[in-house]
């Protein structure tokens, strides 16, 4: 009887652990988002980049799991929070270089993800990579416009 119950117990524990891990991750992301909304402009670049990078990781996992719609929603977040990071970096003059490097690395990751997908699913990923490159270009222009 105990032997029969063991797999059920293990499955229940695993399920509960996965659920808790998921809940913790969601909550943390939500906390970050909430913090970003009330953060000072000079703190926003770091927070927004953190959110975008986390969503990039999520997008990668979701594409791997075949959850295309969810992955595309994560892609939108990547672009939205990258745009916010860009705007806050320019407005505050803080973390401009960090944002530029982060955009470059996220674009590289997106290109790598794109190549693992079916042709039909590639366009939004390429569009997100292009948008990040465009934000990066803008930051570079800003940096040199300031004579740095």
């Amino acid at each position: 009887m105990i032997v029969m119950r063991l797999p059920i117990t293990i499955a229940a524990v695993l399920l509960a652990t996965s659920f808790l891990a998921f809940a913790y991750k969601t909550e943390t992301l939500q906390e970050l988002i909430a913090r970003e909304q009330s953060a000072r402009v000079e703190d926003r670049p770091t927070l927004c980049l953190e959110i975008a990078e986390r969503q990039l990781k999520s997008a990668d996992e979701l594409y791997t799991a075949g959850k295309i719609d969810d992955a595309q929603a994560a892609l939108k977040d990547i672009v939205t929070y990258s745009e916010k990071a860009h705007d806050a970096a320019i407005q505050s003059g803080k973390k401009v270089k960090n944002a530029e490097i982060s955009f470059r690395k996220m674009a590289a990751k997106l290109r790598d993800i794109k190549r693992s997908l079916n042709f039909d699913d590639q366009a939004p990923v390429q569009a997100a990579a292009d948008r990040l490159e465009s934000l990066r270009t803008d930051l570079l222009t800003h940096m040199f416009g300031k004579g740095k």
Partner: protein, 175 residues
């Protein structure tokens, strides 16, 4: 009023940077054949990282060819493009290492090859930096070259630390 030369220089630099990054967007730094090779090696960290090293090395070789080709028409522009190509591939190499680490892959052997390649890349890039300092068109790609050197310097450090961590973990596993 005539603008200062410094302002004009910065403007020219900004325009050239814009041109480079714009040219980079909407294209893949890897050609279709390279993409196919990577796809075939998707599950094999050693093979995949070996390919990235090869692709990065190819970009640096192309860069050296541009620098030494007497017929090269716009050397500064081409130098920038080859540097950006190298950086894109190097970023992807690092990104792949991160992915394999998350999958708990044993990277000890491929990492040794990566570190060896890092050292080679560093030497070539520093040689370019030294030769560029004597060149009048250096300003057109100096910022990008510094970025590339920063990326490789950071990469070497990260790769060595990771190798050391993995070797330590392997020792404990054996015990």
């Amino acid at each position: 009023m005539i603008p200062a030369w410094g302002t004009l220089g910065r403007l020219a630099l900004a325009i050239s940077l814009l041109a480079t990054v714009w040219a980079q967007s909407r294209r893949d730094p890897l050609n279709p054949d390279e993409q196919d090779q990577l796809r075939d090696a998707a599950q094999d960290p050693a093979e995949r990282l070996k390919l990235y090293i090869l692709f990065a090395r190819t970009r640096l070789t192309a860069l050296e060819q541009v620098r030494t080709d007497p017929k090269s028409s716009d050397r500064a522009q081409q130098t920038r493009e080859r540097l950006q190509d190298f950086l894109d591939v190097y970023d992807e190499l690092n990104d792949n290492i991160d992915t394999f680490v998350q999958r708990k892959a044993d990277l000890r052997k491929p990492l040794r090859a990566v570190i060896e390649a890092d050292t080679e890349f560093q030497a070539k890039l520093r040689a370019l930096k030294n030769s560029a300092e004597a060149s009048k068109d250096q300003a057109k790609y100096d910022f990008l070259l510094s970025n590339v050197l920063d990326a490789v310097d950071g990469g070497v450090k990260d790769h060595r630390e990771l190798l050391s961590e993995q070797e330590e973990a392997a020792k404990h596993k054996k015990k």
